[in-house]
Subunit: 533 residues, 2 copies
């Protein structure tokens, strides 16, 4: 049992979120996201379904170490006609490092009859057996009561019997799932209230889908009448219309309803970052209108709203955007822009007088560049270089004269169709004209290779520098392949430093070169390299 | 007064929706959208704010003729220090063809004190005067009680006095607005219930914003306790996080709560079209996860889900998608089973015996390819080609021998640094070896151009084909520029058909070529082109 106002958060981004059409997590994605979920203070992190696909198997074979979160494996109850102890599927979910297991079973008689084509009593035995065996193998078993709300409406007794049997067999949590997402808040509130009254003292969870755009409201309604675990996903990722959006739920629970979610108040400011991290990982365009964390969630158009907000932000803001790590955007106000730029200067350790004309000039440059497709939000190193160049404090470490990149698909000597990439660069360094050629399995890789070959004799600092991420986004995509391309490159060195740079051009090779150039310049500048030009 | 279950719909897409950052309606947009809103059966269509900007003035000067809807002008109460009869702003909204006027006034004492800096009694007089004058000039006056919920919590008496004075002056509707969007459903329900009890017999409306992702739930809660007008926008367009989404509200009100919205049941099937029309007009990418109308709102990805849906769609669909004009999608992916593949075959019109070894072989190929970076769930055309190729029913329309793509940055004759892309292709078509060269502002664009030049003389079908979207995802990004690249290309033709193809390779140019090849092949195959090889 839990303190009355403690609500446990259960994130299923990596499991139910992976059901989203078009979404495909790599093991590296899962690891990066799980680490952030643990950092912010989520109670339970469901990593996937061991045994269901190779990605989940690899992730469960080597999950990250969590500071605080419990790692959860999802899976089904045993199959019909097998003992739970000898069921391979069940064994797969009980044999990982996850000490908590979330086991799903249907609680709608219609599903048992029509989809599973099993006897109802037989199916309840399958639930009870599976939970009982799981209870002997892991620390904590949750029962995900699939289709609970449809089941409760259709056959209340059957749905409740499923819950009671799972509880009797040792389930620590009973999670009521609105699997098809069609239940409205007033029905959720009534049914969860009745369940809580009927089996008092039981830990009840809620799992909602957004098929009527009510997943968040449904989750809040369930908590108000007694549910103490909420399942959801970052940004509401999930099959069909998605799951309950954890990013919107958390601040409402904490700031407006006074619940303790286990997340320290100061970690709320990480929500905006967490939301954008997921989109970055999946190469999705962030929803600008997202509640609390969207880039325009606190944007004010000109006129009356702006003048009121300048008098007192509470006139048009339901919370202080900084509390969730977001920021106010006042489109027409230079003051707001100036303070953003000043805040970023402070972050990178640049001392500058706020009244200096340099500040306004840089602001104009940033605005113009962002209008042309740059996004300095995610490219701190390029922003710092831009700012320092405006203040004339960044040397040119080399001067590119030209490059040429060739990608060729042809038949090789063994009759195989191969594609080769080769790049030549011509640049001036240490008073010499240097030409080098490199190859790679893609044009950008080849260009990177040629640049290093040309520069390494003059800049030993580059020896341990490597590219660790490379992202491409097409802007103004209505233009097809003629669109503007934005490339972001993340680099790292042997000291554990990481930095991100950006390049924008109609030509993807050109954009990549610009980002590579900034990446190399930033490394040399931070290491205090002596310009060899 | 209205029948107890009649809920009036008030669309403010063209007024509050126009506050969205980045949204800019033309007069033609407004006309087209208003006509559709009238056709579907919306009661009130708010066209804008006459006198506030040139677009709204032109739209109100020549609005479309409505069959059924009432046309509404929005505006503010008179200014301080002027008589209502002589206020130019008020006159502007009372002088149009709109016979209904929606007049906004603040009902939060804090706003009157801090933002307006007016006396509270003085401001109430402004509301009452303005409503009274309007009542003499138009048929129907609504009072939009701005910031009502914040106002009610802060100073209940003041907020209620504003309502009573507007009512006494002749307002036909009192619309309670959650202007800052921060109120949660349980508070909306309590407060609207109290207002309805306190001034019984009054027509109450609700106007919600989505700042906590609860605008739809808030609107439904208000209706349940007595509100009989709902204000919202198509797709939830609107400032910050948007307004209540009419597209999600309507089917819940009609199908799940039994209200009469004035929309004939058969017109519900126009909702998906209405939603996409707005996005098309504004050049926005439709939200695939939108409740009821999103392209993946009825998409099924998991193998178990698909087999159940094939037995009875109610197992995983909360409503029949056809009722709202949407459709079921069966997704093929590495999470899919045999039943997904079979269902997709049926959708593309392929007759195949489910026990045929071809089915399992294709499933194995899909799984293997997805493990290597392919993602067929977003690339229907490439999946269809893959399946048909396995069944040997897709001809080769041409055979590529080789291509070469060059991207070069150099100084041009005028001393400018430029980047050029050029591609050559060598291919066999119609028993001839063809070589062509094309250029473009990026290597993929150049390659596309060369391919078309080579093929168009032989395949006139390609004349109206164009690339409309180009997406790049780097997989296994821990490898930096050496990572695997996935390219997805969306193409369209002059018949309004759209299709998506995929290419995967360590080399981005190679991946792009593969996706281009599928795009061209799919177009020729669907059009029944005669292979000219």
């Amino acid at each position: 049992m839990t303190a009355d106002n403690r609500v446990y958060l259960f994130d299923t981004t990596l499991r139910d979120g992976a059901q989203t059409q078009g979404v495909d997590f790599s093991v590296a994605d899962k690891t990066a996201i799980a680490i952030e979920l643990d950092r912010i203070g989520i109670d339970y992190i469901e990593g996937g379904w061991p045994g269901a696909n190779p990605t989940d198997d690899r992730f469960f074979a080597a999950p990250p170490a969590f500071n605080r979160a419990r790692f959860v494996a999802f899976g089904m109850t045993r199959r019909a006609g097998r003992s739970a102890a000898n069921d391979p599927g069940l064994n797969a979910i009980l044999s990982t490092q996850a000490r908590t297991v979330c086991m799903v079973g249907k609680t709608w008689d219609f599903h048992v009859d029509v989809a599973l084509e099993l006897g109802r009593t037989e199916y309840i035995d399958m639930i009870a057996d599976s939970v009982a065996v799981a209870r002997t193998r892991v620390d904590e078993v949750m029962f995900d009561a699939e289709h609970f709300f449809d089941g409760y409406k259709a056959n209340r007794d059957y749905a409740m019997t499923c819950l009671r049997e799972a509880l009797r067999a040792g389930a620590r949590w009973l999670v009521l799932c609105d699997t098809n997402g069609g239940t409205l808040p007033h029905d959720i509130e009534r049914i969860v209230g009745e369940v809580c009254a009927e089996i008092p003292g039981t830990s009840i969870g809620i799992h909602c889908h957004n098929d009527t755009e009510n997943a968040v409201a449904n989750s809040l309604a369930a908590v108000r009448v007694g549910a103490r675990q909420v399942q959801g996903t970052i940004n509401g990722l999930g099959e069909r219309c998605g799951n309950a959006n954890m990013i919107a739920l958390i601040p409402s629970l904490m700031l407006k309803m006074g619940y303790d979610t286990g997340i320290p108040a100061e970690n709320l400011a990480k929500l905006t970052h967490l939301s954008r991290l997921l989109d970055d990982r999946l190469n999705l365009v962030p929803n600008r209108s997202a509640a609390y964390v969207g880039s325009r969630a606190f944007a004010h158009k000109g006129g009356l709203h702006v003048s009121a907000v300048e008098k007192d932000p509470r006139t048009y803001e339901h919370i202080d955007p900084a509390v969730v790590g977001n920021e106010r955007i006042i489109v027409v106000s230079d003051q707001a822009g100036r303070s953003n730029v000043m805040a970023r200067f402070r972050q990178i350790g640049l001392e500058i007088d706020p009244r200096s004309p340099d500040v306004m000039r840089l602001l104009e440059i940033v605005k113009e560049r962002e209008a042309n497709g740059y996004a300095y939000d995610g490219a701190d190193a390029s922003f710092e270089l831009l700012a320092r160049r405006e203040l004339h404090t960044v040397p040119d470490y080399f001067v590119l004269q030209s490059f040429r990149v060739l990608a060729e698909r042809r038949w090789n000597a063994r009759g195989e169709l191969i594609t080769l990439s080769e790049a030549t660069v011509k640049l001036d360094v240490a008073k010499h004209r240097v030409m080098e050629v490199g190859e790679g399995n893609g044009p950008v890789n080849a260009l990177d290779s040629a640049l290093r070959k040309a520069l390494l004799p003059h800049y030993a600092e580059l020896v341990d520098m490597r590219l660790i991420d490379f992202k491409v986004r097409i802007l103004d995509s209505a233009g097809g392949t003629a669109a503007i391309t934005r490339v972001m490159i993340e680099s790292a060195d042997g000291h554990g430093q990481r930095w991100t740079t950006i390049g924008v051009s109609p030509n993807i090779i050109d954009a990549s070169y610009n980002a590579l150039y900034d990446a190399i310049t930033y490394k040399l500048f931070r290491d205090g390299a002596t310009p060899a030009v």
